[in-house]
Amino acid sequence: MAATTTAHTPDDSEGMAYLDTLPKRVVTVYLPLFVILVVLLFPFYWMALTAIKPDDQLIDMETYNPFWVVSPTLKHITKLLFQTNYPLWLWNTMMISVAATVLSLFASVLAAYAIVRIRYKGAVAVGAAIFLAYLVPPSILFIPLATIIQAYGLYDSPFALVLVYPTILIPFSTWLLMGYFKTIPYELEECALIDGASRWQILVKIILPLAVPGLISAGIFSLTLCWNEFIYALTFLSSTQNKTVPVAVVSEFVDGDIYRWGSLMAGALVGSLPLVILYSFFVEHYVSAMTGAVKE
């Protein structure tokens, strides 16, 4: 969480807060905020606690206080990492996410630049169409897409996801990058055009270096969206070694075993941690991606 201390949003929302007395602030601000934070974080506490609890404490809630753990164990996590395909699933998830993100960033940069700066005939309409594409949810596309994936011979292949995920990412990234590109002054481009630079050179040498924060925002947000994606991965992948973490944890670990909870929660924890760590380094970028795409 170290990155969050570097947040440099100007705190001009102070306003008239100094008028409130401390007891009033405790009751109207701190207490409700504390309750909400506890509710928001409790599932993660519970997930982490279960992941390191020995099996006997999991099912014996009378001898031990279930809110704490006596003699924690790494058994569930080591079992996960050394006796299952979990490392493979993590690797799949990572590779698919990175590949889909890179592909959609490439396509989005070109599209956003064309819409904002080349302004070909109909650019505004295309921009609106891309925004509409943002509003098409995967739940209504997965059945026809499954038949299309099958027809292209991509069924049960990670490439299917690398090609399909950009449909979620491109509309969002394009819209976000359009906002960034609009803030870059025209004069820079005019100078370069007069000096004989091509559009491609302008994009690579002038626009992109200036839009790095936007690229990071779009990239981080895209990565988390890919990591999170479930319905396409569930529909298009079938063999165990090709699965992504969310699908694998749901389908491979869920059986009738009463002792499954330890490994299930360990799976959920290990699958979430990389994303949370990544997020903690780029909080500001992540938030600006999330809010920027909505505000445009």
């Binding site: 929302s13 602030r25 909400i36 928001l40 519970w46 059945i143 026809p144 479930f230 944890v249 959920a268």
Partner: protein, 314 residues
């Protein structure tokens, strides 16, 4: 592509109006080349499947077997199917309750976070964690929290003396609906709170100062300053929220798979079950297509919200 092959670079050098130089420099063609990757992916994997889904819903296609055109038979079949109507009802109730609660709690949390707080940036980044963690994985944590035998909630209530038996959270239809709705609210509140907070931060504090000097109460401040200025963002955020709650799949699939006795089946989960698991692609596509009118309705409302803003700013 044929144009490029025909136009020789040498010819381009001599005549400025040649096909090659037009392709390289004309605004329209340049735009075309730049749009190509994004357009290809979106047309191939978004627009085409969207159309194909509607076509599939008019056929009796099954997995591994091409179908014949059957007109609106799938829809007629669904019209008389009580499970389908139950899923529509569930989806509407789920979306309704979850969206209202998410909006209420989200706005409240945004207002809290907009106050002067120590460690504000840290708190804000913690609030967003439920949104960052993959939904399925946090849904599994909820599944464990709502376990019929080892639920921590049942345990706490029993030890507080409020209860003498375990609650069957996900086994009882009403209880299961409440649980999945709660999990959805839990997951959606951070997104709404943080985006509304971004909107709140653009409201100048001097407006509140001026209104307070004129004798406005805190409620009046909220009603006549905060809410009107926030309306455009609320419209967009709630559209997204309604859209993605309505088409929710993964939360339900990880927690209940539509059970008990179809009580938590949403249209998306029913579509997956009929379309992929049972192999009736046509019927599954029909259920998915039946969601489209609702989605258009939601987008329409948001559009009117945005129109309002234009009208307000004159």
């Amino acid at each position: 592509m044929a144009d490029i092959a025909l136009a020789r670079p040498a010819a381009a050098a001599s005549t400025t109006g040649s096909a090659w130089s037009r392709l390289r420099t004309s605004r329209g063609w340049l735009g075309f080349w730049f749009m190509l990757p994004a357009a290809a992916i979106l047309l191939l994997f978004l627009a085409y499947p969207l159309a194909k889904g509607i076509w599939l819903s008019l056929t009796d296609t099954r997995i591994g077997r091409g179908g014949n055109f059957v007109g609106i038979e799938n829809y007629e079949w669904l019209w008389d199917d009580s499970v389908f109507w139950l899923s529509v009802f569930n989806t509407l109730v789920y979306t309704g309750f979850a969206s209202v609660a998410k909006f209420g709690i989200g706005l409240y949390l945004a207002l809290l976070l907009n106050k002067r707080l120590p460690f504000k940036a840290l708190i804000r980044s913690i609030v967003l964690i439920p949104f960052v963690v993959p939904t399925v994985l946090s849904a599994l944590a909820f599944w464990w929290i709502f376990d019929s035998q080892f639920s921590i909630i049942s345990w706490s209530l029993r030890h507080l003396g409020l209860l003498d038996h375990n609650i069957d959270f996900l086994g009882d239809p009403t209880m299961a609906r409440i649980c999945v709705t709660f999990a959805n609210i839990w997951r959606g509140v951070p997104f709404i709170a943080i985006t509304l907070l971004a909107g709140l931060q653009t409201v100048s504090p001097s407006l509140y100062e001026a209104a307070t000097i004129d004798g406005a109460t805190p409620w009046q401040n909220f009603r006549h300053i905060t809410l009107p200025l926030l309306t455009p963002i609320i419209a967009v955020v709630m559209t997204f929220s309604v859209l993605f709650t309505f088409t929710d799949f993964q939360l339900i699939w990880a927690m209940t798979r539509g059970g008990p006795v179809n009580a938590t089946h949403l249209m998306a989960t029913l579509s997956y079950q009929r379309g992929i698991l049972s192999g009736n692609l046509g019927e599954g596509a029909a259920i998915a297509t039946a969601m489209v009118p609702f989605l258009i309705f939601a987008i329409g409302i948001s559009w009117f919200g945005l129109q309002n803003r234009k009208w307000q700013t004159g």
